[in-house]
């Protein structure tokens, strides 16, 4: 009997496999409503980690892209054709990320792909797109090495980490002084690269790193690092801490509770509501570089109308700047397809390379054949009275080599 049971389960698996082959591709033509797509649509792949560790960045990015899609289709699509964004979930797992990329390319026949906010996923998906000759724009991965690692079909919407680290170094050097404390998370590519680029640019400016220290993503106790920092005879002018969104609130809070009151500076990993929620008042006197100030009162005009549209669609404010980046990415790819006048991968990639002065919510985008990481400005944010406020809009004087 038991044997029959196991044979039955085997049969069930085969049945599921067969039904899986014919399961309809999930699709979305905007805020999730059922779509009766016209006969001919332009299909774009949206690969995001909607679940798992990266979902706090990828979900806003995907929502931003869907919002852009709804606007594009409401305005008539591309040459009368509606645009379809096929979203699939990579689950923050490299094997699944590769699976969904293959599915989008091979089963859904997308003409271009957007997505992901981290370089691990972008590096898992990029080579598959490259091989298929399909342009891939990452909505949030900031490693400037991506295009050289993947190839000429790989583009970024955000600035590279070398650019934001250079801005962080220049801003802090001018405003706070030449002595810095540097702490970074060794557990991720993003935090390691950011700290490297910061160090390069800061020492080049004539600054000095008085103490370097590291920790691991997920560490909840920073007392060892804090004790070391406090044992410095003279406190540095500021503290550069390269951290991921999940950790930054805790880090800042513990530094402040230990009596360290100096300015804390960091990168776009700080751009999360968690910073103020977790650290509370301790978050004041924190400065960080990011893509745009997502503030309905103090942001730019483009940001204000974006926030308004996002609120209407989802019932809450954009969680962070990745929502704007996802929105920009979708607008950029559709604009490139329109300008290319074709859905051929090489033609779309060429159109992206020719993009000049494209007005994105998170800054103006400029590309060229040799710059697949856009030239764009960096926003420096200061936390004041528990609110993100604009400290500066900067373009770095010099950028460390990727």
């Amino acid at each position: 009997m038991k044997r029959i049971g196991s044979l039955l389960s085997l049969a069930l698996v085969i049945a599921l496999l067969v039904s899986g082959c014919t399961a309809p591709a999930p699709s979305s033509t905007g805020g999730g409503e059922a779509a009766s797509a016209p006969a001919e649509t332009i299909k774009i792949g949206g690969a995001f980690n909607l679940t798992g560790e990266l979902s706090s960045l990828d979900v806003p990015a995907a929502n931003g892209a869907k919002l852009a899609l709804a606007e594009i289709n409401a305005a008539g699509g591309v040459d009368g054709k509606q645009v379809e964004l096929i979203i699939r979930d990579g689950k923050t797992d490299p094997a699944t990320v590769a699976n969904i990329t293959t599915q989008l390319i091979d089963s859904d026949k997308v003409v271009a792909m957007i997505g992901f906010t981290d370089s691990d996923s972008a590096l898992a998906a990029g080579p598959l797109c490259q091989e298929a000759g399909i342009p891939f724009i990452t909505a949030g991965a900031t490693s400037p090495k991506l295009p050289s690692q993947v190839g000429d079909m790989m583009f970024l919407t955000p600035f590279g980490d070398n650019v934001q680290a250079a801005v962080g170094a220049e801003f802090a050097y001018d405003r706070f002084g030449p002595k810095a404390y540097l702490l970074w998370d060794k557990g991720t590519e993003y935090t390691t690269l950011l700290a490297d680029y910061f160090k390069t640019r800061f020492t080049e400016l004539g600054g000095e790193i008085v103490l370097e220290d590291t920790y691991q993503s997920g560490d909840k106790d920073f007392s060892a690092q804090i004790a070391k920092a406090k044992s410095l005879g003279e406190q540095p002018d500021f503290y550069y801490i390269s951290a991921v969104p999940d950790d930054i609130g805790t880090t800042v809070k513990q530094f402040r509770e230990a009596g360290i009151t100096g300015p804390i500076v960091g990168g776009d990993g700080y751009d999360t509501p968690l910073l103020v929620e977790v650290a509370g008042d301790a978050a004041n006197n924190v400065f960080f570089t990011t893509h745009a100030l997502m503030d309905a009162d103090n942001g730019s005009e483009a940001v204000k109308s974006f926030i308004e549209a996002y609120r209407t669609e989802y019932g809450h404010d954009p969680e962070n700047a990745f929502a704007a980046l996802g929105y920009d990415t979708m607008k950029l790819i559709v604009d490139a397809i329109q300008r290319a006048g074709s859905t051929d991968g090489a033609a779309i990639a060429k159109a992206i390379e020719e993009t000049q002065g494209f007005p994105g919510v998170a800054g103006e985008l400029n590309y060229s054949a040799s710059e697949h990481v856009p030239r764009k400005g960096v926003t420096m944010i200061e936390v004041k009275d528990g609110k993100f406020t604009l400290a500066a809009e900067m373009v770095p004087e010099k950028v460390p080599a990727p």
Binding site: T102, D106, S107, L123, K186
Partner: protein, 362 residues
């Protein structure tokens, strides 16, 4: 505990060719399905099939240790990481090595091996580490082994992150040559299953099972507990290292995060679902979990059930898989197959069919 080895056969003893036919049938079936998928299916289905093959190797080799010795290792993904990194470093083309790993020591910076030797060295490296940590760790028993091997996994991760000249630290290791094909994967899967099957029927395998059932009794009749466990640990680490190498040359870009708790639990789920101690259970566990989670994942983007439209529910597949897992733990704690094997030999015994049909007539 009853197992297929000692169960009395009600019909006549199968002859040699019947035994061979029983073994060859599932293999032939596997070959046919693989050929069909290679020839007719989409690149996506081919991907899933390769991932499935990799998981079969991982689960079967974990079973060789956990299932046969009854000691639970949570650290096998550490061996997988060792295999993946060793093989990737050895096969990386020299010009990419100069860019990606500029600080490699000279003796490593100027060698580039073929796929097969790199796989073997990856597996052997995992074995060496297993033998080194095995002596102290395998003296423990019960939960202590689980905790100690989990600590081993953490150590491997910390070493990978800090051995920056070799692994790029926490940064993504990319540029691994795409050598892994479906034939490499299923070739090694066959080797793994064959090795597990031979080990189970060898004196060492008997010793493993004996000390699993009753350590004191086994020891009293002269079974060397530590030695039998070391054999299982070493062989299993080798095969897991091989799977890691194949995985690395298939996924191509990976970081230490890929070899951590998520992967550990995904393999253990397959092992527990299939049934610990059963080789065919490992295969069935892998097939069930991989295919079911892919099918569920494809449905979570929303679909239409005639008149009812199901909206997108991302993350639903993980929840459903977890419920399934809990269900199996409650209703079939020993897994789908328990300790038994699927034995197709009887399909080739005439008496078996006679008995089947006779039963139906009643």
């Amino acid at each position: 505990m009853d197992d297929s080895l000692s169960r009395p056969v009600s019909v006549a003893q199968p002859t040699t060719w019947q035994r061979y036919a029983g073994v060859a049938t599932p293999l032939l079936l596997l070959l046919l399905v693989t050929l069909y998928i290679q020839g007719a299916s989409s690149a996506y289905i081919q991907r899933v099939w390769i991932i499935l093959g990799l998981d079969i190797i991982l689960v079967a080799s974990l079973n060789l240790f956990n299932g046969f010795t009854g000691v639970f290792s949570l650290g096998h993904v550490g061996f997988m990481a060792i295999g993946a990194y060793v093989s990737a470093i050895l096969t990386l083309p020299l010009e990419k090595k100069a860019i990606n790993l500029p600080d490699l020591p000279a003796w490593l910076a100027h060698i580039q091996l073929g796929f097969f030797p790199a796989i073997l060295i990856g597996g052997l490296a995992a074995t060496l580490v297993a033998l080194a940590i095995g002596r102290p760790v395998l003296r423990l028993s019960g939960h202590y082994v689980a905790v100690a091997t989990l600590a081993f996994l953490v150590i491997v991760r910390v070493i990978l992150i800090n051995a920056t000249p070799y692994t790029r630290g926490s940064r993504t290791f990319s540029g691994t040559p795409a050598y892994t094909t479906v034939w490499w994967v299923y070739g090694w899967a066959l080797v793994t299953i064959y090795v597990a099957w031979r080990v189970l029927r060898s004196p060492y395998g008997r010793a493993m099972l004996a000390q699993r059932e009753d350590r004191a009794a086994a020891r009293s009749v002269g079974v060397r507990v530590l030695r039998s466990r070391m054999w299982a640990f070493g062989i299993s680490a080798f095969l897991t290292g091989v799977a890691g190498a194949l995985w690395g040359h298939y996924i191509l870009s990976f970081s230490p995060n890929a070899f951590y708790f998520a992967e550990t639990f995904s393999i253990i789920t397959m092992l527990v679902v299939g049934g610990m101690g059963s080789i065919s259970g490992s295969v069935i566990g892998a097939i069930l979990v991989v295919l079911l989670s892919e099918v569920l994942r494809n449905l979570e983007g929303g679909f239409s059930l005639g008149v009812v439209q199901i909206p997108p529910l991302y993350g639903m597949s993980q929840i459903l898989m977890a419920i399934l897992f809990i269900g199996i733990l409650i209703f079939r704690r020993e897994g789908l197959l328990g300790g038994r094997e699927i034995d197709l030999t009887k399909l080739f015994v005439v008496d078996y069919w006679r008995s089947v049909f006779r039963r139906k007539e009643v």
